[in-house]
């Protein structure tokens, strides 16, 4: 048993409930509905339960306090028009989140106690106010021979707690694995918190029922440990290695099944989602599986190529090919997460920024069901936060200015996700004042970013390129909300690293829209294989609009540096020149890359074909050509570089 695994579970589970807590508190602030309050209460309750099971006393205490505050609100809402103290509740939720993070980080190295049965203890509405004040620290290992312990807390107002504790032990007397209690004897002024020790982990659910049946029991949590290694004895040989993912899945299932085995009656706990069908899987393990399948399919292609020559085993290979493709798709799907996860925190970001700036701003989020690669979702959070803060700070005007402009005093920001042909588009739009082009230009001139020869009227793309320069800020006063112009350059580079792109459209007085384009997945990409100067390269299709036969368009395109395509004149860049190859002038094809309104063509010698590639991130030293975004293996096993067509734009 590996405590890391349970910590991971704890981390994932608490993150989820912290998110729910935050979201429901914001809902509460908006419409003050009882549903949001109940949801927040349940989230706090669950956080208390799982934290107590891990033995994280401080997190348990904070969750318990928050739970109490929410419970009081549930039963005695603030009189009249008095507002719900959402600020205080949010602050408490933040403190709890920090404590959970600290406790998790602090016990990464801990290896003794493996909390297993996370049994939420549903309570009636009358939760006693006394906090869990002295839970055993998890680091205190269970004594040798103790396989499981039940941490029992009696109701604060229960009379004669020493007697009650005795009755709890008596209720368990029928078990042959009952070892005793900690403390072993209960003093006259016993505070009602004790631990019951068991010699096995058998049937803990019935133990819980017996404990609760003894009366006055407020809470039962189980700790499951392994007997400490006796001193001086060599460690046992490691158990035969199970495939890591399988072990993990088993542990997850086990942990998920235990709460299900103990149905949670009681107030407000009926909404518990059954979790047995949903596995939490470590993204790294999934990557490993995806990588394995990817390389397998490449090997398969090689074998297939040999076998075709021998004209044998055709049907079998067809069948294998089909299954491999299917598997590959399944694994890619496994990595996909609804974008809702990246959006979950955004309302809080907007709320906090708006509050600090004294503005009223609504956030509308839509398209949360669109799914993206888990890693992209993770990487998306910071850019989105930056764009939103930016919109609140620089986009949305102060209320009086909005009223003068004939707009509602409340600003409005929309975040929308949508599936596109080759990827996902996310838009962040505000109904603010738009980018003040003249001020950006003035700043840029002052900073030496814009020469005198620059056109008088800057396009949106020009503006955005200037705004993405480090150090350029147009806000009259630089606040702490969106920083000092730092960030847009980071947003741009982050999106490019993901194989995505961003563009900006702004209309004075009406607002600004940022459009983010992202590939659906990082692991596998459709790519064109091209040849330049005798070498093969792969170009992901994400930004490829089309491939053009240069011979058909008539010669001279490469030398002129422009490609005429259906009446449009597109800049044409020779890959040979970019790669510093001897210029043979052998380019016969061009790849047209498009990102938003920007468009360019890359001249290559030849388009070899289209295939699915598995991109390995590229760990090139900084300073190498920014042309490549990674490397991949071709069907014949040769490694090739992956060209990033956006680098040309």
């Amino acid at each position: 048993m590996d405590v890391r695994r349970f910590l991971d579970l704890y981390e994932a589970e608490t993150q989820e409930h912290v998110r729910i807590l935050q979201r429901s508190l914001l809902d509460l602030e908006r419409d003050g509905s009882g549903g949001a309050l109940d949801e927040a209460f349940r989230a706090a309750h669950t956080l208390k339960g799982v934290s107590a099971s891990m033995g994280f006393a401080e997190a348990t205490r904070l969750a318990h306090e928050l739970e109490d505050q929410l419970d009081q609100l549930r039963h005695a809402p603030p009189a009249g028009a008095a507002p719900v103290p959402v600020d205080a509740l949010l602050a408490a939720a933040d403190a709890l989140e920090r404590e959970i993070a600290a406790a998790t980080a602090g016990s990464q190295a801990m290896g003794d106690i493996v909390p297993a049965a996370v049994t939420p203890a549903p309570q009636g509405p009358g939760l006693e106010p006394g906090a869990v004040h002295s839970l055993w620290p998890a680091a205190a290992a269970l004594p040798p021979g103790v396989a499981a312990a039940a941490v029992v807390r009696l109701h604060a107002e229960a009379p004669m707690k020493a007697v009650r504790a005795l009755l709890v032990l008596r209720a368990l007397a029928g078990r042959d694995d009952l070892l005793g209690s900690e403390p072993a004897a209960f003093p006259d002024d016993f505070d009602g918190l004790f631990r019951v020790h068991f010699g096995s982990t058998r049937d803990l659910a019935s133990a819980e029922a017996d404990i609760r049946g003894a009366g006055d029991v407020a809470d039962v949590q189980f700790l499951v440990g392994r007997p400490a290694q006796p001193w001086g004895k060599a460690a046992p040989p490691p158990a035969p290695r199970m495939p890591a993912a399988a072990t993990r899945a088993a542990a997850v299932l086990q942990a998920a099944a235990i709460p299900l085995a103990v149905p949670a009656p009681g107030v407000g706990m009926t909404g518990r989602k059954p979790s047995a069908r949903q596995l939490r899987v470590d993204a790294e393990r999934l990557d490993a599986v995806a990588g394995g399948i990817g390389e397998l399919s490449i090997l398969f292609n090689r074998v297939a190529a040999d076998a075709v020559a021998q004209a044998a085993a055709g049907d079998t290979l067809d069948r294998m090919s089909f299954i491999l493709g299917q598997l590959q798709q399944d694994v890619v799907d496994l990595r996909m997460v609804a974008v809702a996860e990246a959006f979950e925190r955004l309302p809080r970001v907007v709320r906090d920024a708006a509050r600090r700036l004294g503005k009223d701003v609504d956030l509308d989020v839509s398209g949360e069901d669109v799914r993206l690669d888990r890693m992209i979702i993770d990487e998306l959070h910071d850019p989105l936060v930056h764009l939103l803060r930016n919109a609140v700070d620089h986009g949305i005007e102060p209320g009086d200015a909005r009223l003068r402009a004939g707009k509602p005093a409340r600003g409005r920001i929309q975040v929308h996700a949508e599936r596109e042909r080759t990827g996902v588009r996310i838009t962040v739009s505000d109904d603010g004042g738009g980018v003040a082009a003249d001020r950006v230009a003035a700043r840029a001139r002052a900073a030496g970013l814009l020469g005198a020869a620059a056109p008088a009227v800057l396009t949106d793309d020009d503006l955005f390129r200037l705004l993405s320069q480090p150090g350029l800020s147009t806000a009259a006063d630089v606040g702490d909300v969106s920083g000092r112009g730092v960030g847009m350059d980071v947003v741009v580079s982050r999106l490019r690293a993901l194989g995505g792109a961003i563009e900006m459209r702004t209309r004075p007085g009406t607002g600004t829209t940022f459009t983010l384009r992202l590939p659906v997945t990082l692991a596998l990409a459709q790519a064109l294989r091209v040849r330049v100067g005798g070498e093969d390269y792969a170009i992901p299709l994400t930004h490829v609009a089309e491939a053009v036969d240069l011979d058909a368009t008539g010669g001279g395109a490469v030398t002129s540096g422009r490609l005429r395509l259906r009446g449009e004149s597109i800049p044409l860049v020779s890959m040979r020149t970019m790669l510093q190859l001897p210029d043979g002038g052998g380019e016969r094809a061009a790849i047209v890359a498009r990102s938003g309104a920007r468009c360019a063509a890359l001249a290559v010698d030849e388009v070899v074909g289209r295939e699915q590639i598995l991109v390995k991130t590229f760990d090139a030293a900084t300073g190498t050509l920014p042309l490549f975004s990674g490397a991949t293996l071709l069907a014949d096993g040769r490694p090739v570089l992956v060209l990033d067509p956006l680098s040309v734009l």
């Binding site: 009379p159 004669m160 020493a162 007697v163 005795l166 009755l167 008596r170 049946g213 003894a214 009366g215």
Partner: protein
């Protein structure tokens, strides 16, 4: 058939109060005892489903009465009735075989919860 109860307390007030609470829950009060000796004698005669036992009674105390009854009838279901501050005595009674306890002043709901546990 209603379940039967024997109420043991030297104070009439307490006996009446307990009788009211238990009757309201459908019990039939088949006997009342004011001393430990009387409690043991009546148990032998009545075999009630439930006994409520005060701790401090003249002649023979409640704890000794519990010991006596349990010695003869190990399955007897006895609920201790204690004043506050008698925790050590209640522990003694529990060790002697009483099944649960309630603390005076009685709250009907707590009494009935305890009765439920004793009979359950």
């Amino acid at each position: 058939m209603p379940r039967t109860v024997l109420i043991c307390d030297d104070a009439l007030f307490m006996r009446s109060m307990l009788a009211d609470i238990l009757r309201s829950a459908g019990f039939e009060v088949v006997g009342e005892a004011q001393t430990g000796t009387e409690a043991v004698r009546q148990y032998r005669a009545l075999h009630p489903d439930l006994v409520t036992m005060d701790i401090v009674m003249p002649d023979m105390g409640g704890i000794d009465a519990v010991r006596e009854i349990i010695r003869e009838y190990p399955q007897a279901r006895i609920l201790m009735c204690s004043a506050m501050g008698q925790q050590a005595l209640v522990i003694e009674a529990i060790q002697a075989g009483a099944r649960d306890f309630v603390v005076k002043p009685f709250q009907p709901s707590r009494v009935l919860e305890a009765v439920q546990r004793v009979l359950g």
